[in-house]
Point group: C2
Chain length 368, copies 2
């Protein structure tokens, strides 16, 4: 228990974002309370990935469901022990304010609904975990941050990789100088999008194509692993608009980020090929993750090539999702800022907007 909390502390200290907000003993020694989560959206991620994770949590429990499908909601509630009064739909969502079991609302909806349900949850007096990408525009992100601030509630974005053991160890090794001075970062993230009817391919619901969905992993890893913020971006899009999948959103975007230290990041986002790779090149060696951000099976090598595979120490939770869920619970309990707050989601969305603009205008965009 103490070890696990120490790792949370290490994790938070390791983050450039929140170093200054960490350090109180209260953070390292939480009480045994479990905070109650309401899951909004019983789609593939909310139902298939998040809900089964509460059994792995120490400080989080499932207490409510919000779904437009009453039969499905009843079935899931029965399976996971959610009481009848914890079942909501999108019409009576705001009445969650009267349910004291709910501390945190986890928004697992299509991207276009993130802002609305984050803001409604904050207005109902609940803390919010919102899935990434945070919203379809930076203006929406700003409104979400403002709403949570106004309500005095925490807002965290679901960057699970910040809680994933291989990613944490890669970042620790890089910052501890194991590959010398970092020179170059690369990440490719892509998969073959099969279903042409997916909401992810409807721009009004997704806000964009592969970049919003999977390319954001490459972008966030570039910022996370370098611990720097990019100063410019150049991007090139290639999309076959005759492919029925890509009538509304982009397929491939290659984007290049410049960082203040001189590190260059070269990133690829794709919906037409499978790739999941993170590489950090230093002047003394390299850190290689492949796959790097999968749900499981991630692999890590450190050295000159792939001769030296590393088994990282256990992450801060039993799984990356359990750690992520418990992190926000602990932030609420101890009144700390999450290591991936709304501002982190906003940063990515601002850069994604610049990526799209660069691809459209075919020129380098300076980030301000």
């Amino acid at each position: 228990m103490i070890d696990r909390n120490r790792r949370s502390l290490v994790l938070a200290v390791g983050s450039a974002i929140t170093t200054s907000t960490v350090g109180l003993p209260a953070w390292a020694v939480p009480d045994g309370r479990k905070l109650g989560y309401a899951i909004v959206g019983l789609g593939g991620y909310g139902l298939g990935v998040i809900i089964p994770q509460f059994k792995n949590c120490q400080h989080s429990k499932l207490v409510a469901l919000i779904s437009g499908d009453p039969a499905k909601a009843r079935r899931v509630a029965a399976e996971y022990g959610v009481p009848q009064h914890g079942i909501y739909d999108y019409k009576n969502f705001d009445s969650i304010k009267d349910n004291p079991d709910i501390d945190i609302v986890y928004v697992c909806l299509p991207v276009s609904m993130h802002a609305e349900y984050t803001i409604r949850a904050a207005k109902a007096g609940k803390h919010v975990m919102c899935e990434k990408p945070m919203a379809v525009s930076s203006a929406e992100c700003e409104a979400m941050i403002a709403a949570c601030k106004r309500a005095g509630k925490k807002l965290m974005i679901g960057y699970r990789c910040h809680f994933e053991a291989h990613n944490l160890e890669a970042r620790r090794l890089a910052r501890a100088g194991h590959i010398g001075k970092l020179r170059y970062f690369r990440s490719e993230h892509g998969f073959t999008m099969g279903n042409p009817d997916s909401w992810r391919l409807k721009k009004a619901m997704s806000g964009g194509g592969s970049m919003m969905d999977i390319g954001i992993y490459a972008l966030n890893a570039a910022r996370y692993m370098t611990a720097e913020e990019p100063i410019s971006v150049y991007a090139k899009e290639t999309t076959d608009r005759n492919d029925p999948r890509f009538r509304e959103v982009e397929d491939m975007i290659e984007f290049q980020l410049e960082f203040p230290s001189g590190v260059i990041a070269s990133c690829m986002s794709m919906y037409s090929a499978n790739q999941n790779h993170i590489l950090l090149m230093g002047d003394k060696g390299r850190i290689d993750l492949e796959p790097g951000t999968r749900y499981d099976g991630n692999k890590l090598w450190v050295g000159q090539d792939r001769g030296n595979q590393i088994t990282p120490p256990p992450g801060p939770g039993q799984t990356q999702w359990a750690a992520q869920l418990d992190h926000l619970s602990l932030c609420v309990i101890n009144n700390r800022e999450p290591i991936v707050p709304g501002e982190e989601g906003l940063r990515d969305i601002r850069i994604i907007e610049a990526v799209y603009r660069s691809a459209r205008e075919q020129k380098r965009i300076v980030l301000t």
Copy 2:
């Protein structure tokens, strides 16, 4: 013997450049003659790499040396059986015209001397193999091509990877559809430049930094593997000008190429980190070479990941260099154009000039 020549034929047919110039039976059935090479420059590459390769050749032999160091020239001549009358210096170089043993001059000099010695060799009535990068400018490349044309002599550039078994097999697999439709190409080429006194770091001798020396492998592989010519380039340079190695030339350049088919190539050139990697991503899988362009030890994988390592069939010669040397000899014997003629070197130099311009002007350059 016939098998080996068949492979030469396959190689040439596989090349987008020379398909139309191949096919005569004479090409496939050369006589047993060995053409005589003169090596200009007894530096690391000429002396350390090329000269020891003639023992592996079927159609090429070493007959002359050109060096500014008479003692070194005598020693090397004795070791490799070059007769006394085959030893030249830079002053009496032009008298090679009177030596009928010399068919081909191989220019292994610093880049700034390539044009002069290629042109002088052509004027002396000799065919020319010139090391890559072809010259310090496209204007010089054009002059070299014109001089050889005027003299009625062959000009080939030392792109050894076009004769290397793993590279040949990777290209064959890509073109045969083993990874579906090609979507994305990536290559990183770099090494840690140790010696701050190397001629490669003097701009007047090298024409540029890592891009000219090692980045050209990434560029040429992008064109070779895709079998397309890029339509635009964007590049970003990062060089620490306080590093004594990089007072005159660049360290890192990341460059992105767009191809007509929509394939994007993302390439990195570095003098401050070790990396040697080629990746082709198709919509059905990938081809991975790491290392990809080393003298030996190259490795090739084809599939979804690195589960399926391929041992390629033998290349067209006993080594990549023997195949390269014999290719030009056979081209001379059979009066065919080399698969990597001067025009191939010129194409790379034109793109490198656009890479430098893009990095300088921080904008996308359309290639014409």
